[in-house]
C-alpha cells in the first residue's frame, strides 16, 4: 500500500513539471476561452443548449408515458404517469410547462380509465380542474368523465356542474351547452333547456370574416348571434374588382344585401354612386344554400363570391347586411324545439329558429367551433382531443 502510494507520489514527483505545465496550459486555455468573445459566446451558447436539453426531459418523459398508453399498456402507463405526476415541476398554471402538466394528468386519467378505476379517474380530472380552473377544457374533461362514469338513468349532476363551469368561461362552448341540455332533457325539465339555448344564442361571440375585393383584403368582426347587422367596410384605397369574395372561416351566414360605394373623383361633380349586388348570384364554395336563402358552411374554406359589374368602377367602401350563425346540429335543435313546444312557447321557438342554422351532425357542429385556430391554438390539444 505504502509502496503503491509512494510509487504514485514518486510518479507525481518525477512528472511534476509536466503536470504543472499541463495544468497551467489547461487554465490558460480556459482563460482564453472566457476572454475571447467568440469562444465565450460559443461556450455560453453550448451551456444554454445543455440547459434547454436538460429542461426538455419533461417533454420526453411525457411522450414516453403517452406512448405506453397508446400501446395499450395501461397498467404501466398508470405507474409511469403517477411517478411523473409526483415529480413534475409545474405545480401551478404559471409554469411554462403547464400544458405538459395538464397532459400528464389527462394521461393519468385516461390510463386509470383504461384500467377501470372510475373513482380515481374523476379525482384526477378534478385535480386537472384545480390545476388551472380558468381552462374551460379541464372542466369539460371533468364533465365528460363524470357523464361517462358517474351517470345512471340520467346524466350525473357532477357533469352538469362541470359544464356550467365551462360555460362561465366560454359561454358558446357547444359541447357543454349540449351536455347541459341533455341533462335537463333527461329529466324532462324544459325551461332550463330553453334557457341554456337562449344563453348560447346570446353569448357574445365575435368572429372575423374576410372580405376580398381586388387586391384589398379586409377583416370584418361580426357578432355570431343569428341576428342581422349592418356594416360599413371602408377600403384603404379606391379599388376596382371583378368579384367580391366573403370567406367565413367555417361559419354559416346569410347575406341580405351588399352595396358597393363608388369613389367620387376630384373636381368631378357627380352624385355618389352605389352598386347593389344580388346575394342570390353568389358562387358558393364549401357552402350550400338553404331553402330560406342562408348559406350553410360545410367546410372550413367556406366562401362566397359575388360578381361585380364593371359599371361599379372604383369602390371605396362596401355596405352589407349579414347574419352570422353559431354552429348548431340538427339533433340538438330538435331537442330544443321540442322543449319550446312542450312549454307552448311558440314565439320563443320562432325567434330561436330564426337565429339557428343547423349542421347535419354534432361532430360537424363541434368541429366548426373547434377548428377556429384561436380556440385550440393555445390549449395544446388536437381537434380530436378537444371533443373528448
Amino acid at each position: 500500500m505504502s509502496d503503491s502510494s509512494g510509487g504514485a507520489r514518486g510518479w507525481v514527483r518525477r512528472h511534476e513539471r509536466r503536470l504543472t505545465v499541463a495544468y497551467l496550459g489547461l487554465v490558460g486555455a480556459l482563460a482564453l476561452l472566457v476572454a475571447l468573445p467568440p469562444t465565450r459566446a460559443r461556450l455560453l451558447a453550448r451551456i444554454q443548449a445543455t440547459v434547454d436539453w436538460w429542461d426538455d426531459r419533461w417533454a420526453r418523459r411525457l411522450a414516453r408515458g403517452e406512448a405506453l398508453l397508446a400501446a395499450g399498456r395501461a397498467e404501466e402507463a398508470v405507474a409511469y404517469f403517477e411517478r411523473l405526476d409526483k415529480i413534475h415541476p409545474a405545480t401551478n398554471q404559471r409554469h411554462a410547462r403547464d400544458l405538459e402538466r395538464e397532459r400528464v394528468l389527462r394521461g393519468l386519467a385516461r390510463s386509470l380509465e383504461e384500467t377501470g378505476r372510475r373513482r380515481r379517474v374523476v379525482e384526477t380530472y378534478q385535480r386537472l380542474v384545480d390545476f388551472d380552473s380558468l381552462n374551460y377544457h379541464n372542466h369539460y374533461a371533468l364533465g365528460s368523465a363524470a357523464g361517462r362514469l358517474l351517470s345512471g338513468w340520467a346524466l350525473a349532476p357532477e357533469a352538469r356542474d362541470a359544464y356550467r363551469s365551462v360555460l362561465d368561461i366560454l359561454p358558446f362552448h357547444l359541447p357543454a351547452t349540449r351536455g347541459t341540455i341533455d341533462y335537463y332533457m333527461d329529466r324532462g325539465e324544459y325551461i332550463p333547456v330553453t334557457q341554456a339555448y337562449r344563453a348560447y344564442l346570446d353569448a357574445y361571440f365575435v368572429h372575423r370574416v374576410e372580405l376580398r375585393l381586388g387586391s384589398e383584403s379586409r377583416w370584418l368582426a361580426l357578432s355570431a348571434d343569428g341576428r342581422p347587422h349592418e356594416h360599413l367596410v371602408t377600403l384603404s384605397a379606391p379599388t376596382t374588382a371583378e368579384q367580391l369574395e366573403i370567406r367565413t372561416l367555417g361559419l354559416s351566414i346569410r347575406v341580405d344585401s351588399v352595396e358597393l360605394v363608388g369613389a367620387p373623383r376630384v373636381g368631378v361633380v357627380a352624385a355618389s354612386s352605389a352598386t347593389r349586388l344580388d346575394p342570390r348570384t353568389a358562387v358558393l364554395s364549401g357552402m350550400e344554400r338553404t331553402a330560406e336563402g342562408a348559406l350553410r358552411a360545410v367546410a372550413e374554406s367556406a366562401s362566397l363570391a359575388l360578381p361585380v359589374p364593371s359599371a361599379a368602377g372604383a369602390v371605396r367602401a362596401v355596405r352589407l347586411r349579414v347574419t352570422l350563425f353559431k354552429p348548431m346540429d340538427a339533433a340538438l335543435w330538435a331537442s330544443v324545439a321540442k322543449s319550446y313546444d312542450n312549454l307552448l312557447d311558440a314565439p320563443g321557438r320562432a325567434d330561436a329558429e330564426r337565429r339557428t342554422l343547423t349542421l347535419a351532425s354534432a361532430a360537424a357542429a363541434d368541429s366548426a367551433l373547434f377548428r377556429l385556430i384561436w380556440l385550440h391554438g393555445n390549449l395544446g390539444l388536437t381537434l380530436d382531443e378537444l371533443s373528448r
Partner: protein, 1069 residues
C-alpha cells in the same frame, strides 16, 4: 595549471537568471494550483450561476423569459462582481432609520421570507405576515408576490403587494404595490398623467428596507379598487378590469382580445346597488365598438367623455406609449354611477420613444376614439397645450428630484444591473420626454392639405383633403370675380350641389371672400398600422359665381399658414380614415315650456342644448314613476303667491324624479317650487336616489322651495358632483335624508328641516357652507359629516333629533357657534367606513351642547379640536367663549359679541384668509414639513395627520423657519391646534425682528381632545418659531416596544397651525 573543470564558470560568476525564470524553476504543482484555484472557481461559479438563472427563468413563459439567455446572465454577473467595491462603499451609508418620508421599512420573519422567495413559482396568492415600521410604530401588514411575469420574480429584487389592517393605514393606503419594473421612468410616465387631469393611481419612487437591510428602489403604486375611487373623489362604482395577458389569469383557448371577449373582464370595484349596471353593459360597449356604422360609433362615443379620451390620448403620445394599454391587458374602466360614462384609468404606462413605435396598432378602443374627427382635433390641442405649459420641464424636475433625493440608492441598484431590473436614470428619462416633445411639435406642424379647384359651368368645385396630423381652418378664398361669389358646403356629402347644401356666411371685399366663422377642416388619423399616422379627410365646397379660387388656410393649432399641395384632377377620392365631421348633425335648441295645469304621463327628457321653462303658478301632475330629467338649463321660478307645484297625479303613488343631469344644465334656477310625493327613479340607466337630484351641474340655485314627504327614495334632495345653493327652503317629513350632498359643494343656508326620517343634512366627500339652518326631529342625525367632508358649519340649531352632529371617516369640519340640544346624543365621532382610514377630526368653537341624553361618543380613533365648547364634558363645567375673531373673519363672518351657541346677529364681510396655514398630512414628501428637531427630541414625524413630537429626558425643542410679515396688517395671531400627553408646559417662542417672545400654555391631557392655542403677534416680520415641550416630572407612559416606563417623556401632537392678520379696527400690539 588549471583543470578543465576549472574552466567552467562558477555559479557566482554566471549572469543571474531573470526573476520569472527563477519563479518558473521553483514552481511546484501545488503552487500552481493554489494560485489559480480562486479565479478558476470564480469563473466556474459564474458559469454555473448563469446556467442556473437561465434554468430558473425558463420556468416562465413570457416576454421577459423569452429574451433571457445564459450569455446575458453571465455578463450581468461579471458586471456585478466588478462593482462590488462600489456597492460595499454605498451600503455603509445606508440606514433603515434614514429620516425620509418615502422610505418603506418592512420586517418579515426570515423563515417566512425565505419560503416566499425560494421558488419563484411557489406561493402565488399566499400572504405572509410582517410589519411595516412607520412613524415610530409598527403596523401589522401582510405581503405577497406581485406581478405575473418573470421580471417581477426572478431577479434579486422582487415585486410585492402590501396590505395593512383595516383600521391602520400606511399613510392613505391600505393596499399598495411595490414594483421593480423601471421605477424611475415608469414613475415619470405615470405621474405625468396628473398633468392631463386623468384618473390616475398615485405613484412614488421609494427605497425599501427589508429587515433593516436595503432591499432596492421600487415604484410605489396605489392599487385600483373602491378605496382608490373614494380617494380620487369619485363615487363608488364599477371598475372593470381587463388584464388577462399573463399566465396567472390567462384563459387558455379563448379569444384573447378584451375588445372581442367581454367575459375576460372582471370587476375590482363593484356598484352593488340594485340599479347598478351589470357587466353586460360592458358587452354592449364592446358591441358598439365592434360595430362599423356611424350609429354604432355614436352610441360608443355616448358611453365616454370625449374630452377625457382626448386628454388620455394626448398624454399617451407625450410619454410615447399609446400601446401598453392594449387589447389584452392594462385596461381599467370606471363606470361613474352619476352619468354611466366610462372613464379609463391609465395603468402601467411606460416612457417610450414615440419615434420608434411598437410594431402593432393601438388598441381597438383608441382606434375607435381616433376615428372621431373631433377627438383627433382635441388631441392635437391637448398636446399643444401640454407642450406650451411645459410638460417636459415638469417631467424633468419631477424625475431629477427623485434622482437627487435617492442618488445613493439608485447608484446601488445600478451597480447590480442585471441582477435586478434596470432602475433607469433621470437624464435618460428626461431626454426621452424631450425627444417626444420635439417629435410632437413636428406632428403639430404637419398640416398638409391637398387642394383642387375645377370649373363646372357657372361654379367652381373646391376639393380639399387634409393629410397631416393637424387640421386647418379655411378662413376664406381669394377669388377673381366681379360680383360677390357664394360659397356653399356639400353638407350632405353627396358630391353635387343641391338645396340642402348651406351657404357659408362671408364678407366680400377686394377679391377676398372672408368667412364669418373659419370653417374647420379636421384631420383624420390612420390607426391601422403601427401606432398613429396622418390619414385623410376630404371636403367639398361649391363656389357659385366664380370658376377659380385660392384658399386661405391656417393650421388649427399654431395659426400659421398651412401647407397646400395640388390634388390631381380626376383622382378617385378615398374613403376618409375617420368619420366625416359633416355626418354629425347639430341640433337646433328648443325651449320647452310648462304652464298652467300640466299632466305628464310619460317621462320628460330635456336633451342637452334645449332648456326647460316652468312658469309661475304651474302645477305639474306626474303619473306614477314619471319623471322630469333635464340635461339643459331649467328655469322653474315661481312666485311666493304663485308657486310652482310638482305633485303626484295619483294620491299615494309616487312619481319619479325631478332632476338636473350634466353640465348642460349649469346655472339652473328653482325658486318657489313645491315638490311633493316623488319617489326617485332609474332613467337612462342612471339611478336618481332623491325626489330632486342635481348630478354634475354647477351654479344651481334652489331657493324658497318646499320639499314634502318624498316616498320610497332614500333622499329628498340629492346633489352629486354638483355646485348648488339650497337656501330658505323647507324640508318636511323626508323619507330618509332630507339633503344629501355627495362630492358636492355650495351652500345650505337658512333652511328648515322638520321630521326627517334619516339625517336632515348628510354629507359625503362634500364641503358646503352650512349656515343658519334650523333642524328638528331628525330621526337619525341632524348633521352627518362623513367620508372626507370638510364643511363650514355655522349658526345652526339642531334639536330633538337622534344625534346632534356626527363627524366620521376622515372628515374635518369646522363647527362655529352652533347649538345641539335635547337630542339622544350630542356629538359622535367615529370611523364608520374603513376605506377612509381615519375617524372624524372636527374643530368645534363656541358651540353649545345642551340637554342631550349623552353628550359625546368618540371611538378610539376619533379626535376633536375644541375651544369654547360647552356641554361635552360628563361633569358639567363653565366654559368661557373664545373671541376667535380670526376664525369668523377667515370664513367672511363678523359677530358683534361671540358667545357660546348661536351667534345672534352677524353679518357677512370679505373673508380674511390666513397668510400661512399648514395642516399636517402623512405623505411621501417630508417627515416633518420643515420642523427641525432640537435637543431631547426623541421623535419628530407625521403620523395620523398630526406632527408628533416626543420629548424625553427634559425639555424638547423643535424649530421652524418662517417668513411672516405682519407689518402691513398691524399684527396678527398664530393659532395652533394641538394636544399633549404628559406635557407640563408648552412654550411657543416666536422670533421677530424686535426679539423673541414666549407664550406658555398647558396642553390638555390625552391625544384625542385638541385645543386651540392663540399666540398674539406684533406688527413686524417673523423669522422663526420654536416649540419647547416641557414634560411632566417623573415616570410617564409605558413604552410599547420595550415595556419599560419612560422618564420625563411627553408627547405633543400638532394638527395644524395658521397665522391670521389683524383686521381693520383690531388692536395693534
Amino acid at each position: 595549471m588549471s583543470s578543465p573543470a576549472s574552466v567552467v564558470a562558477r555559479p557566482a560568476e554566471r549572469a543571474a537568471p531573470r526573476w520569472w525564470v527563477r519563479l518558473w524553476r521553483g514552481l511546484r504543482f501545488r503552487d500552481a494550483l493554489l494560485v489559480t484555484v480562486l479565479p478558476v472557481t470564480v469563473v466556474l461559479l459564474f458559469f454555473a450561476d448563469a446556467a442556473l438563472r437561465y434554468a430558473r427563468m425558463i420556468q416562465f413563459e413570457d416576454w421577459w423569459s423569452a429574451r433571457a439567455g445564459v450569455t446575458s446572465f453571465f455578463a450581468q454577473r461579471v458586471h456585478a462582481a466588478a462593482t462590488i467595491p462600489t456597492r460595499v462603499a454605498l451600503r455603509r451609508g445606508f440606514s433603515a432609520d434614514l429620516p425620509d418620508a418615502g422610505v418603506i421599512r418592512l420586517e418579515v420573519p426570515r423563515r417566512s421570507w425565505d419560503s416566499l422567495q425560494s421558488d419563484p413559482l411557489a406561493m402565488w396568492g399566499s400572504w405572509i405576515e410582517g410589519t411595516l415600521r412607520y412613524g415610530g410604530t409598527s403596523l401589522p401588514v401582510r405581503l405577497r408576490k406581485r406581478g405575473d411575469n418573470s421580471i417581477h420574480w426572478t431577479t434579486d429584487k422582487r415585486s410585492l403587494t402590501v396590505r395593512t389592517e383595516r383600521d391602520d393605514f400606511y399613510k392613505d393606503f391600505r393596499n399598495f404595490a411595490l414594483s421593480v419594473r423601471d421605477p424611475l421612468s415608469a414613475f415619470l410616465a405615470n405621474r405625468l398623467g396628473n398633468e392631463f387631469g386623468l384618473l390616475m393611481p398615485r405613484t412614488e419612487v421609494v427605497p425599501v428596507f427589508l429587515n433593516n437591510q436595503f432591499y432596492g428602489i421600487y415604484r410605489f403604486v396605489e392599487t385600483v379598487d373602491e378605496s382608490f375611487l373614494r380617494a380620487a373623489g369619485r363615487m363608488p362604482g364599477n371598475v372593470f378590469r381587463g388584464d388577462r395577458a399573463e399566465r396567472g389569469e390567462y384563459r387558455k383557448g379563448t379569444i384573447r382580445s378584451l375588445f372581442d371577449n367581454p367575459y375576460l373582464w372582471e370587476r375590482v370595484s363593484v356598484n352593488d346597488r340594485w340599479t347598478a349596471a351589470a357587466p353586460n353593459q360592458l358587452a354592449r360597449m364592446i358591441e358598439d365598438l365592434r360595430g362599423t356604422t356611424f350609429a354604432d360609433h355614436q352610441r360608443l362615443m355616448a358611453r365616454f367623455d370625449a374630452d377625457e379620451m382626448a386628454r388620455l390620448l394626448a398624454y399617451l403620445l407625450v410619454v410615447g406609449d399609446p400601446f401598453h394599454m392594449d387589447r389584452v391587458h392594462n385596461q381599467f374602466l370606471y363606470e361613474d354611477p352619476s352619468t354611466q360614462l366610462l372613464h379609463p384609468i391609465p395603468w402601467d404606462i411606460r416612457l417610450l420613444d414615440l419615434g420608434k413605435p411598437e410594431t402593432r396598432p393601438v388598441n381597438d378602443l383608441f382606434q375607435a376614439m381616433l376615428s372621431d374627427p373631433f377627438v383627433v382635433d382635441q388631441v392635437t390641442r391637448e398636446v399643444s397645450a401640454a407642450l406650451e405649459r411645459g410638460v417636459e420641464s415638469r417631467g424633468d424636475s419631477l424625475v431629477h428630484a427623485v434622482e437627487h433625493r435617492y442618488a445613493d440608492f439608485l447608484a446601488y441598484d445600478r451597480s447590480r444591473s442585471g441582477l435586478v431590473p434596470d432602475v433607469g436614470s433621470a437624464d435618460e428619462s428626461a431626454a426621452q420626454l424631450r425627444a417626444n416633445g420635439r417629435l410632437l411639435r413636428r406632428w403639430l406642424a404637419n398640416d398638409t392639405v391637398a387642394f383642387h379647384v375645377a370649373a363646372d359651368g357657372p361654379l367652381a368645385v373646391l376639393d380639399f383633403e387634409t393629410r397631416g396630423f393637424t387640421g386647418v381652418d379655411l378662413d376664406g378664398l381669394e377669388v377673381e370675380a366681379g360680383a360677390r361669389p357664394r360659397l356653399r358646403q356639400d353638407r350632405n356629402l353627396n358630391g353635387v350641389l343641391d338645396e340642402s347644401d348651406p351657404e357659408l356666411s362671408a364678407t366680400w371685399s377686394g377679391g377676398r371672400l372672408a368667412l364669418a366663422q373659419p370653417m374647420p377642416l379636421y384631420p383624420g388619423w390612420n390607426t391601422e398600422g403601427h401606432g398613429v399616422a396622418p390619414g385623410r379627410m376630404s371636403y367639398r365646397f361649391f363656389l357659385v359665381g366664380a370658376t377659380s379660387a385660392r384658399p386661405l388656410l391656417r393650421n388649427r393649432v399654431s395659426g400659421q399658414a398651412a401647407t397646400v399641395v395640388e390634388w390631381q384632377d380626376g383622382a378617385p377620392i378615398a374613403e376618409p380614415t375617420g368619420w366625416h365631421p359633416w355626418l354629425y348633425r347639430a341640433r337646433t335648441p328648443v325651449v320647452h315650456r310648462l304652464r298652467g295645469e300640466t299632466h305628464l304621463t310619460t317621462t320628460l327628457l330635456i336633451p342637452a342644448g334645449d332648456s326647460l321653462v316652468i312658469e309661475p303658478g304651474t302645477t305639474i301632475r306626474l303619473d306614477p314613476d314619471v319623471s322630469i330629467v333635464s340635461s339643459g338649463p331649467v328655469r322653474a321660478v315661481g312666485e311666493a303667491n304663485r308657486p310652482i307645484r310638482v305633485i303626484p297625479a295619483e294620491t299615494g303613488r309616487p312619481w319619479g324624479t325631478f332632476s338636473l343631469q350634466g353640465h348642460g344644465a349649469d346655472g339652473s334656477q328653482i325658486r318657489h317650487v313645491e315638490f311633493r310625493g316623488g319617489g326617485g327613479a332609474l332613467v337612462g340607466r342612471i339611478e336618481f336616489i332623491g325626489m330632486v337630484n342635481v348630478h354634475r351641474v354647477k351654479g344651481v340655485v334652489v331657493d324658497s322651495a318646499t320639499f314634502i314627504a318624498n316616498v320610497r327614495s332614500d333622499d329628498t334632495f340629492h346633489a352629486l358632483h354638483a355646485v348648488v345653493d339650497v337656501t330658505n327652503s323647507r324640508f318636511v317629513d323626508a323619507n330618509g335624508d332630507a339633503v344629501d350632498f355627495d362630492t358636492s359643494v355650495g351652500t345650505i343656508m337658512g333652511n328648515r328641516f322638520e321630521g326627517s326620517g334619516g339625517d336632515a343634512i348628510d354629507l359625503m366627500a362634500s364641503s358646503p357652507r352650512i349656515i343658519g339652518n334650523r333642524i328638528s326631529n331628525a330621526a337619525d342625525k341632524g348633521i352627518s359629516i362623513g367620508e372626507a367632508s370638510h364643511p363650514f358649519v355655522f349658526d345652526n340649531l339642531v334639536e330633538r333629533s337622534g344625534i346632534g352632529v356626527e363627524i366620521k371617516d376622515g372628515s374635518s369640519p369646522v363647527l362655529l357657534s352652533n347649538e345641539f340640544r335635547s337630542s339622544g346624543l350630542g356629538l359622535r365621532s367615529r370611523l364608520k367606513n374603513w376605506r377612509y382610514g381615519s375617524s372624524g377630526f372636527g374643530t368645534l368653537v363656541n358651540t353649545l351642547f345642551d340637554a342631550n341624553v349623552e353628550p359625546i361618543e368618540l371611538d378610539s380613533l376619533a379626535r376633536v379640536v375644541e375651544a369654547g365648547v360647552q356641554g361635552l364634558d360628563s361633569i358639567p363645567r363653565a366654559v368661557a367663549p373664545v373671541a376667535a375673531r380670526w376664525l369668523y373673519a377667515a370664513y367672511g363672518i363678523a359677530v358683534d359679541s361671540p358667545g357660546i351657541g348661536l351667534p345672534g346677529a352677524w353679518r357677512s364681510i370679505p373673508a380674511r384668509p390666513a397668510i400661512e396655514s399648514h395642516r399636517f398630512h402623512d405623505d411621501f414628501e417630508s417627515m416633518s414639513d420643515g420642523w427641525r428637531p432640537g435637543p431631547r427630541v426623541a421623535r419628530l414625524d407625521k403620523r395620523g395627520n398630526v406632527l408628533v413630537v416626543d420629548a424625553e429626558g427634559g425639555t424638547g425643542v423643535v424649530t421652524r423657519d418662517v417668513d411672516w410679515d405682519l407689518g402691513p396688517s398691524g399684527g396678527g395671531v398664530l393659532v395652533l391646534a394641538l394636544s399633549g400627553r404628559d406635557v407640563d408646559t408648552l412654550r411657543v417662542v416666536t422670533e421677530g425682528a424686535s426679539g423673541t417672545e414666549t407664550h406658555a400654555v398647558a396642553p390638555r391631557g390625552g391625544l384625542s381632545r385638541f385645543s386651540l392655542v392663540e399666540v398674539p403677534l406684533r406688527a413686524e416680520r417673523y423669522r422663526r418659531v420654536r416649540l419647547e415641550i416641557v414634560p411632566t416630572e417623573g415616570l410617564s407612559h409605558i413604552q410599547r416596544s420595550t415595556g419599560l416606563s419612560v422618564l420625563r417623556a411627553g408627547r405633543l401632537a400638532l394638527r395644524w397651525y395658521a397665522v391670521y392678520p389683524n383686521g381693520p379696527g383690531e388692536p395693534e400690539r
